[in-house]
Amino acid sequence: MLALDLFNSWIFVLLLMVGFYAVIARDNLVKKLMGLSIFQSAVFLLFITMGTVTGGTAPIVLGDDWGAVFSNPLPQVLILTAIVVGISTLALGLAIVVRIKESYGRISDIDAPERDRRL
């Protein structure tokens, strides 16, 4: 399991980098939101990974066998909540992007010099 352990951590960090890079480097707003999703997914992976137990199974008891080895349910609960938070942020962000498109006519480069000082 050693290899798997390090591997998950590697992927966590790499995904984090990829998502974070998209958030910072891309001007396109939809792309930024996608980057944000990837960024958050990386964190989900971190949490889920830490709760697994070797030889264990999902924390849903089968056939009243409470003595089996189970993975930790708590990180899973946290991530369920975090996923929901993520989709909520995405929906709100997309709504803002739609409004920006409608009033600026573009969804990139919104920091360009403003021509509407006296709008």
Partner: protein
Amino acid sequence: MNLEPHLPALQVVVPLLTAPLVVLLRDARLAWWAALAASAMNFAVAVAITGQVLDGAVVRYDMGGWAAPLGIELRVDALSTILLLVVSGASTLALLGGRASLLEQVGEARQPLFMAAWLLALAGLVGILVSGDAFNIFVFMEISSLATYILVAGGPDRRALPATFKYLVAGTVGATFYLIGVGMVFMMTGTLNIADMELRLATVGDTNIVYVAAGFITIGLALKAAIFPLHAWMPNAYTWAPHVVTAFIAACATKVALYVLLRMDFFVFQKNLVDHELQFAFVLMPLAAMGILFGSIAAVFEPNLKRILAFSSLAQIGYILLGASLVTVAGFNASVLHLFNHALAKGALFLAVVCLGLRYRHLDLADLQGAGRHMPWTLTAFALAGLSLIGVPGTAGFVSKWALIIAALERGALGVALVVLIVVSSLLAVVYVARIVERLWFGEPPGENPAVSEAPWPTLAVTWLAVGANFWFGLNASLPGELAQRAGEAFLRHLP
């Protein structure tokens, strides 16, 4: 039945559950009344909790009847109380005085949704303050953030939209950083309860990952608290939000993030991480100093009234952080006091801006020239609140700045340098406040003189109430002083 033991839960639940009801309303006036009622009740609960805390109790509550750390614990101490008063008070005052302005800027049809978002922002902020669970804080942070994005996006200018988007990205990245940090601590301790974390970190505190976790938590929250240089989202968000919203969030949103930062850094990590002070001495203190200078200087050169105040907030956040980063009880006290007093001053100033916004469409100083002749009451209120911002003796702003100077002087040569910094930036504050007041009182009105009259009395009355609070707490600082002192005592117990 006796509600007293349930106060911490009620603090959050009342606005949290009023919000869905408000969504269903169709009438703008009714929505406003409902929001005002919930907010006022929230303030009343905060006052009642303050009473309990002043009696010497740390108010605890086990959600769902599951004892911590198994369940989620609510925990209210002096530090949370002082901010509970600020948040619920600011919300109530802003709502009370802001009805006319909100109708004008947001429109009537969307009022119920807007009021629901307001209540959710309030619920989220108080939810963070009463929570004793690191993950629960994340959840309520997201509630308050999402709701605040909605409030900011309600601004009538189209520039509110990109400002909100930036705020959303910065806020989400900040919250995710915080979550990474909490995840790492959770990995090492197996708990999410803040008090339990501190205990269990004792055995693993000296591992790299805990240092990394502390770093992530600090950076994430610094982003949300708009600490220099992570403040890029803040000036635009404050400027283009509806005026009433600015009055509310400028007094609360960043301070609550700062509160979480203090809570985590001092009440979880300080005891367990060797040399944790270095993070303050070498990172946060220089940043605070730079933020103070940068914010003050930027405020001096800004043409737009709201942006001036936004940059001044950046400087004030610097003061709060500066006090805390001394890592002494006196510094912590000063920091907590300034959290309270700056909210008073900024709240009053932005309420005066609400008054101006009701009569002027653009808030560049050039547009507002000569406003004082038409709106003398508003301008007088603004000038008096400005005195508190500067820190003139007799105002609330003076009390905390003085405390900060005393705390800094405990630190010898470094302290003297910091005092010089504080004095310089206070002088800069004199410059930008005086510049506003001068242009607004004595400037020639631009172009043809529109028939401008004094702001309507409800808004004006609330503004004066806030200004009065600045002087009340300037002359009689016993309540915030007492709470800050208790917070300092708690802080002392968490030093290594």
